[in-house]
Structure formats: C-alpha cells, structure tokens
Symmetry: none
Subunit: 236 residues, 2 copies
DNA sequence: TAGAACAGTGACCATATGAACACATAATGC
DNA sequence: GCATTATGTGTTCATATGGTCACTGTTCTA
C-alpha cells in the first residue's frame, strides 16, 4: 500500500507527533471517551464518536484516535470494534468544553525529589498519567514540549518551590537563572542553572544544600515553566 | 420464520426462563464478563468469549448472553459490537481512585493585589473566565466551591506566594493558619488568618507589611487551597 | 419413560466497524 | 510568507461481529 507524504500518526511506533500535549479537539475527544468510561458505558465506535461531534467524515475520528494513542492517552487494538481503552484517567474531566480556556494535557512522569529520581526523555511512556494545565493562564506556549514532575524535598525552598509541589518542565536548553531538571550521576535533580566564569553549575536554593558542580558535561532535561501547588501530595 | 419449541431467551421481553438463578455455565460467563470490566478491558466480542471457553460454535455464546440478559445480569444493545454492559456490580468493585474524574473548571475573577481589589461572592458569574485545574492532582475535594484569584504584590512572599501567582480559593470558614481572602474596608486582601487571645486578625507574611486587625467583624471570602504559577501574567 | 430444559454444533448472512487513500482548508510557528 | 501541523471531507473496502436457522446430545423432572 503506497504511503503518501500525508500519512501521519498511524501507529504509536511512528515518529512522535509534532507536539506532545493534546490539542483542543483531541482533549474534547479524550474527555468524551472518559465520560463513557466513567458512566460504565460501552466504548463508542468511531461512527458514534463521529455522530457526537457532528463530523461529516468518520475518518476524522480515526485521525484523532491515532493522535491520542501516539500521545499515550489511549490504547487501541487495531481492526477491533470499539477497541479504545483509556490509559490516562487524570486529565480532562470537565464536561463543558466551552467553559474551559485552552487546557492542555501534559504527561506526569512521577515525583522526583529535588536531588533524586531517574528521569530520561526516553522514559516518556505511553501509559504515563497526565495532568491538566491551563496553558494560557500560565503563559505556556502552545507548541511547548512539556512534562510534569513532583518535587520531593526542600532544596529549592529559597525559590519558593516547596516539597510536594508539581513543576511543569519544558524540553529546551536553559539560560542562566532558569530552574532546571538536570541529570547528574544517573539521577535527576531540580536546581537553578547558573554560570560562573563561563562554566555552568547547579545552585540549590537552600543554604542547607550544596551547589553541584558537575565533573562531566551537564545534561539538562528540562526547564521549569510553571508550578502547581495543592494540599497534600496525592499520588497517581 | 418458524419458531421451534427450542427457541428461548431470544429477547428480554420473551417469557421468563425456566429458572431465575444462573446455571453453572452462565455463572462462568458472567464472571468472565465482570473480570473484563474490573480490569478496565474492552468488553469481549462473542467470538472472543467463544475462544476463551473453547466453544466450537459462536452461537453458544449468543445463547448464554441472552440467558444472562433475561435474568437481569447484563444489558445488551442488539446488533452492536461488544455491546454487553454489566448490571450487577457490587458497590466498590471498581475501587481504583484514579478512575475518578479529576479536573474541574473554576471561575477566574481577575487579579487582586494582596491588599487591593473588589470581590464578592455575588459577583461569581457563570460567564466569568475560568481556569482548568486538576482537582485530583492538587487534592481538592470534588464538591468544593472554588474561585481563583491572581495575586498582585509581595505581601505573602514569606508563605511562598509570589506576585503573579494564581491562587485557588474555597468558600469556607478558615481555621487558624489558613491563607485567606478577606474583605476589609470594602477591599479584598490575601493574608494568613491567625488568632490571638481568641481574636482573629490577618497576618502579612512579609515584614514590610503590617498585620491587619479589623475594627469590625472580619469577613472571610475564601480559604486558599491551591496555587498555580507560570511565567508572565497573561490577562484574559 | 417422555418431555422440557440445558448446552451445545455448523452453515450462513447482514451490517457494524476500522481503516486506507486522496484531497482540501485553516491554524500555527519560524 | 512559507512550511508544517491540525482538522477535517469523501470514497471505498475488508473484516469483525451479531444473529438466524436447523440440528444434536445430555441432564433433569414429573
């Protein structure tokens, strides 16, 4: 079967979609699926989803389902009827899309202590749970590639980042002053990225913790762009 | 179409089956269906059920499904794929809290400086712009009545609440230690609620600002339960 | 012992359903 | 302004799937 240049997002193992977070339409579709699940209903077929959203074409649904699958929100069984299974239950519960300013879904990769825990971009997995974040409210650019981390420890309290907070990170290179997730000795740590004499190092924002001057090249996994704080630290 | 004497259980409105309790085979099938449901799997098709039980014929499954339906254990949609829905689910069978819906939309009422800006519960309007917040992630109870405020000023920096942050408030009475939005002299201010000698007052968490001891009864508009921090302060 | 109920088999058919492919327009970001 | 991504439409097709019908064997009960 000839593969045209337009052929995209057909399988999860395909190249990653251009953006990791869900678009508005994808989120609507995902919420529709979750509502079915919540109400213990049979998973909808592609034509039932088409009817719900008023699409003239059933293929639009296939396109969106593939996108959701490639972003790790759902799991599908190819060629099987109604074979959509929700993987991420955390995101997008509000049934009224009109009430929402542009929310986006970002994958939550688990909590990391400021100073501990394994993290690699490669570990962004299909079944990672997501949190919903209002990109417009927090000034996050729509195309940003983001992930979430939960802070453990108080090494960054001087930067008003508390134990239990969730930080939203963007995959990009830092500029001095940024709060970054960095990989040191096989572990991820959250610190402020600073330079001295042209050499970068990681500054704790708590006098009780030492600065980290890497022996090897510093690997920056992401730059903090937002923070969420609630009460308690519910685990997913 | 000739209806044989053997014809039974074809529709729920047919005469009731000879026995109301499930036979052994029916019970096995019902447990199979329930296990799929418990494990959040896609409902099985008649042929998948056939394969599981090793039937040579797919019609055996149809027969059993009709029996289960006539005995009130399941609900089916005629002619639809995988359209089996469990009716008898013991309370709490799906005990995974992650299956609960999570983000809610809360009205954003505009930014208030810590110490300035007008706010009344009566002004909470249906068309007020909203932000989307992941309630589960932030540990916010589902029934909470909430609103959002944007902080302006640094009077609460000692509590790690920064200028430009968005705080999520809940309409309820405070306990000492809570961060509250209070109405003083016709204006709303964000402060910590403390008491001394049984008398409440509002404590700034920045030595540069005075504590506020109300001359009249203190009006508490809400208690802070979460915080969102992004970069910049985009306005809606 | 005979009839009813239960539990299947096998052949066949209609349609629900997922998916490929070509194409078009709008939105986004550099 | 252009390339890329997003979001579709429309046509077509293969197969997954539910269901009918005729039939058979076993078990249970009056």
């Amino acid at each position: 079967m000839k593969t045209s240049a337009h052929r995209k997002n057909t399988l999860p193992s395909d190249p990653k979609p251009a953006r990791l977070s869900l678009t508005g339409r994808q989120l609507e579709l995902f919420e529709f699926l979750k509502q079915h699940h919540r109400e213990d209903r049979i998973p909808p077929s592609t034509r039932e989803i088409q009817e719900h959203f008023g699409f003239a074409s059933q293929t639009a649904v296939i396109h969106h389902l593939r996108a959701l699958e490639s972003k790790g929100c759902i799991e599908r069984l190819p060629g099987k009827a109604r074979a959509v299974r929700i993987l991420n239950i955390a995101a997008g519960e509000n049934s009224d899309p009109a009430a929402r300013p542009s929310p986006e879904s970002v994958p939550l990769l688990g909590a990391i202590p400021a100073g501990l825990a394994q993290l690699r971009e490669a570990t962004v997995q299909k079944d990672a749970p997501c949190v919903v974040v209002d990109f417009d409210l927090l000034g996050i650019p729509r195309g940003a590639h983001t992930f979430a981390l939960r802070v453990s420890g108080d090494s960054m309290i001087g930067a008003h980042i508390l134990d239990g907070d969730v930080v939203i990170m963007e995959f990009r290179e830092p500029v001095p002053g940024d709060i970054v997730a960095a990989l040191i000795d096989g572990e991820t740590t959250l610190k402020r990225f600073v330079t001295k004499g042209g050499h970068p190092y990681l500054k704790a924002e708590n006098p009780a913790y030492p600065d980290l001057i890497p022996a090897q090249e510093l690997v920056i996994q992401g730059v903090m762009i937002a923070l969420l704080r609630g009460r308690g630290t519910p685990r997913r």
